[in-house]
Amino acid sequence: MDMPYDDIVLEIFSWLPAKSLYRFKCVNKFCNTISSPENSYFNQKQSHNALLRDDCCFFLQPNWMQRHGGKIEFHHLSSKNTTSGASHGFFQFLKHYRPACRIIASSNGLILGRSDIELFICNPVTQSWLPIQTPEYMEKYPDDDLMVVLDFNVEDSKDFMLFLFEVQGEWGSSYLHVKLYSVKERMWKSVEAKFFYGGRSLRFDTHVYYRKALHFISDCFPCLSKKSPYFRPYIMAYTIGDGSSRMIRIPKEARRGSHDSTCQMRIYKWGKPTSSDESICLVRLRKNVFTIWVLADYEIGKWRRVLKIRVKAMGVKEEDHVHVTGFIVMNGDQLIFATEMKTYGYGLSHENFMKFEEICEHGFERNVTNLSFIAYSDTLHPCGHNAVTLPLIQQD
């Protein structure tokens, strides 16, 4: 067979994970130049294609306050598929940089990290690093968690979107101040339209970007009076651009018993990007029972229940009492959850529906009762114009 044309090699390579591209640098000179940082066309194509591919890795860390770091573990969804990953240098950086370092968000191969004093964007494969201007709020209230969101637009994935939501003036206002990070000007810019978020505080650690709006779910603490329109938990959407808010009710069944202290609710992306079944799913964990709904009709807010199952009935074979320490929905079709010892996967759609698998053991102590998952896929996405090499790497 003849050697395929260069553009075919380029096309195939653009579907490879970044870790494989780095390995294939030493195939020949052409393959080396393909994935070089100067080849911005290819970098963009590869990271865009990654948005259409599944994430196959995740970070696991204790769900503490943001300013406190701690151990961060990295795992593959499947032990058979370890072709994706992050660089050795990045793990060294996580371990040794500053007294505490934490991953706050991850999107399209970039992660948003926070040390005790700073915010940064970093690509764990290319080891490029972009310090983000420290928000005033963080300087003023270093112990508070930042309400910050990192995401990409599938249609235009060139630059990342980094939003910061801040409480305005005194507590009690139902509006949040919104700031957008400008990569070009290297500073936070205020967005005119404020975010009306209702009466409850929202969870900013998981959001869903869908239909040009950021969706957040509220907490479920029984803190409001029954007369309040925000008595029940809800989802609030912030439309990027005009800043309009939209409240989406959660299913009746999910509202019932939501004031129970063991009740946890999160929203995740459902289905594959750009496919017709793309939507939002709601996961509720209460008294060791997972219930999952999908928003079947966005306009009228109609939900469809996909699954309701006891954790024990899924197939977990642990001797002691099973306690779920954290969960996430990855790739719009798989529930991943951790117990005190291991992590497991549970299929939610099509041929993998209700398919149970053990993913790996994790190394967190039994007293760490709250773990957070952050999905990751390796891309060549550049951090931005003024990015430098990850600190601590230069010394090696």
Partner: protein, 162 residues
Amino acid sequence: MSSSVEAITVLSSDGDEFKITVSAAKLSKPLNWMLEDVCFSDDCDEVPTIEVNSKTLVKVIEYCEKHAPRANSGASDSDAEELKKWDIEFMKMDVKDILFHILMAANYLHMEGLYDLACQTAADLMKGMTVSQIRKIFHIKNDFSSEEQEQLRRQHPGCSFD
């Protein structure tokens, strides 16, 4: 020939004859042009040749016929799901033997859907391969000198992964 023709005959580069329906041919611009030429010319005996070998052309036509109803009318979501499954089955083929030929044929026939699908499949098969396997599959020679190789290793400490 009138425009009511439903299928026409084409030749592969090996000289074998194949039938393709008009609606399936719409998936490829060059194919479509070829068919229009045939349909509207007075000389009906001329059979157009497609520069793709027989083994590959069978697969390309199979893909076109399967995807034609959806591409032409826009089918329901359940069909889309069924089609996705079909694509996965369809792509279960040997990389060197046929996948590269499909890739090149899709490129030559401007069939974006098939091209992306084939590239993605090839990438999935290759991502776990060794450097020497990649060289073998693409018929690529190592054109680095030993100094350059050493330099590359120094430049990209990231080449060693956990």
